[in-house]
């Protein structure tokens, strides 16, 4: 109570330890506990970076020797005195002969695999982007609350289906359907895999696209409406321009999903090394090659290291795609 006295103007108004107002003092245990929790949270945050770097380091360590040291001739041990076969990065990337198990002259050209991956991804996006963005616009602008909740749950369910189940559907259902509808010999092809990938990336595009549209301030909608535009004009002239960065991010994350997908494409593309001339040709993708072959290579052999090199390439592609998506999202926040 004596602290009140110090408020009165007097010569003794200077705060001395005796007259200082009493404040609560926290126990040492509480302070220590807080520090511990803070440290733990910090560790959780940093661990993500640590894991990414650890994975990259491991993949790079397994793949790098062939990149810098050249091949060993295919069997993991260099014969004493034998000339080291050189490894040519350009040849690796741009030739299309993939004979990793040839006894005499194994050839590691992944050109066809790269084209396979990109053709499947491209076609998947051609299908998924209009569907996904259309669904996102419908969900956020046109449908009622009940329909929206139902659709969102269903779409999330679509995202939860394991990829091997998708592959199974591709192998048994889509295969037959494509053979019958398009009258082609093989139903396991670019189209089949692209449809599966489209179905797998649509949920991502829808949910992120819807978030982007929801993030457009309602004042924009009101301004547009007050000027007498119809709902469709509002979407086309106001919302899409306003949300374009977020929608781009949604599409890019969908691309990332499609590029990285393995099991479904392994089962649905036909898995034959081939440069496709139409959407009914079978192809093979980078991811499926790793999945199918890594288990059968000798550790440390050229084949083994080349597969890891493909892993580095995939890592780089998805990294770039995610980075672009990130920049796109940042673009929204600046506004």
């Amino acid at each position: 109570m004596e602290t009140i006295e110090t408020n009165q103007p007097s010569s003794s108004a200077v705060l001395t330890p005796a007259t200082a107002p009493k404040r609560g003092r926290r126990s040492a245990a509480a302070v220590l506990g807080e520090r511990c929790i803070e440290g733990l949270i910090r560790l959780c945050g940093i661990s993500a970076i640590v894991f990414v770097f650890a994975i990259f380091f491991f993949v790079f360590r397994e793949g790098a020797p062939i990149l810098f040291g050249g091949g060993t001739g295919g069997h993991g041990v260099t014969e004493p005195g034998a000339a080291k076969p050189s490894f040519d990065l350009a040849k690796f990337l741009f030739t299309k002969t993939w004979y990793p198990t040839s006894l005499n002259t194994p050839r590691y050209g992944i050109g066809a695999l790269i084209i396979g991956t990109f053709s499947v991804t491209l076609l998947a996006m051609v299908i998924a982007v209009p569907f996904g963005l259309g669904a996102a616009v419908f969900l956020s602008e046109f449908c009622g609350k009940k329909v929206r909740e139902t659709l969102k749950i269903t779409i999330e369910l679509l995202a939860a289906i394991p990829s091997v189940v998708w592959g199974f559907i591709g192998l048994t259902v889509m295969n037959v359907v494509i053979q019958k509808v398009f009258k082609v010999q093989v139903g396991l092809n670019v189209l089949n895999a692209a449809i599966l990938l489209a179905l797998m990336s649509v949920p991502i595009i829808v949910s992120i696209g819807e978030d982007a549209l929801k993030a457009v301030p309602d004042s924009y909608r009101e301004a547009g409406i007050a000027m007498g535009c119809t709902r469709w004009q509002l979407v086309w002239r106001v919302l899409l321009p306003a949300a374009k960065n977020g929608l781009l991010a949604a599409v890019l994350l969908g691309v990332g999903r499609a590029v990285g997908e393995t099991m479904a494409v392994l089962m649905a593309t036909g898995h034959s090394v081939n440069i496709p001339h139409s959407i009914f040709d079978s192809v093979r993708t980078l991811t499926a090659t790793i999945a199918a072959e890594l288990g059968e290579t000798a550790e440390g052999s050229d084949h083994y290291r080349v597969l890891f090199l493909i892993g580095i390439l995939l890592f780089t592609i998805t990294f770039i795609v995610n980075l672009l998506a990130d920049f796109a999202v940042k673009g929204i926040r600046k506004k």
Binding site: S219, A223, G224, M227
Partner: protein, 253 residues
């Protein structure tokens, strides 16, 4: 009063969910008049404007009863609500620069109603920007983003945009809170000019602004009309209700 009423509001009630915010108000607005609506926050001024152009429809919990007639046509049963909204220019209290270029912002409404001739649009955009006292500041950068303008400039851009569909009724909802006093005065001069072409509803927290511009002033408080009379009366000792006198003199509010 031989002239037809521009806006005729009869027994308007509005509730958000269980809470009624406008308790059955009736008044009318003559063509080509500036009517000032003053009143403290939460008294229903903005809600009233949103009822008139029916953007209230987008608030799911809002329920409107009574009638609002614009040019004799009930806004609730009107055949073409888009036509109605084009008839009404609306300026929100905080500027909403659509993420388009300055030019496209102003050309937005004419384009949605089907005007695509470039030279017509050019002329209209210039006219509207001049009316909003913004033309001289932006004429060299019509292609840059409207959202990059300063707050006050954006507000004038929204005024230009509201004028761009050549409305018959212009609703200004506290347009001056983001604009400096000098520009405010310039826009007020513009409004006096515009009165010849359109009816203006001026919602404002600055009671002196209503005094400067409005022919009649409506004092709205807690969803009820306390007093509606010519501005001269409202701002004098002749005001009937003591609350009006207190409010305009800044004693309560």
């Amino acid at each position: 009063m031989t002239q037809p009423k521009k806006i005729d509001v009869q027994n308007l009630r509005l509730s958000y969910g269980p809470k009624e915010v406008i308790h059955g108000i009736s008044f009318h607005i003559e063509p080509n008049e500036i009517i000032g609506i003053i009143g403290p926050a939460q008294s229903g001024k903005t809600s009233l404007l949103r009822c008139i152009n029916r953007t209230i429809d987008f608030t799911a919990s809002a329920k409107v009863s009574g009638s609002i007639k614009v040019d004799g046509e009930d806004v609730v049963t009107t055949r073409n609500v888009y036509e109605l909204r084009r008839k009404i220019g609306m300026v929100a209290p905080l500027p909403v620069g659509l993420p388009l270029s300055i030019y496209d912002n102003v050309a937005f409404a004419p384009r949605t109603s089907g005007m695509n001739n470039r030279s017509d649009l050019d002329g209209l955009v210039e006219k509207c920007l001049r009316q909003a006292a913004l033309w001289n500041e932006v004429k060299d950068r019509l292609d840059s983003l409207g959202t990059k303008l300063s707050g006050g400039q954006q507000q004038r851009l929204t005024i230009a945009r509201a004028l761009s569909h050549q409305p018959e009724i212009l609703c200004l909802d506290e347009f001056s809170i983001a604009i400096d006093p000098v520009t405010t005065m310039r826009i007020e001069d513009v409004l006096k000019e515009l009165k010849r072409e359109m009816t203006i509803i001026l919602v404002t927290n600055l009671v002196q602004q209503a005094r400067r511009l409005a022919a009649r002033t409506l004092f709205l408080w807690n969803g009820e009309i306390i007093e509606l009379d010519t501005t001269d009366v409202i701002f004098s000792e002749r005001a009937k209700d003591p609350r009006t006198r207190d409010y305009v003199n800044g004693i309560f509010g």
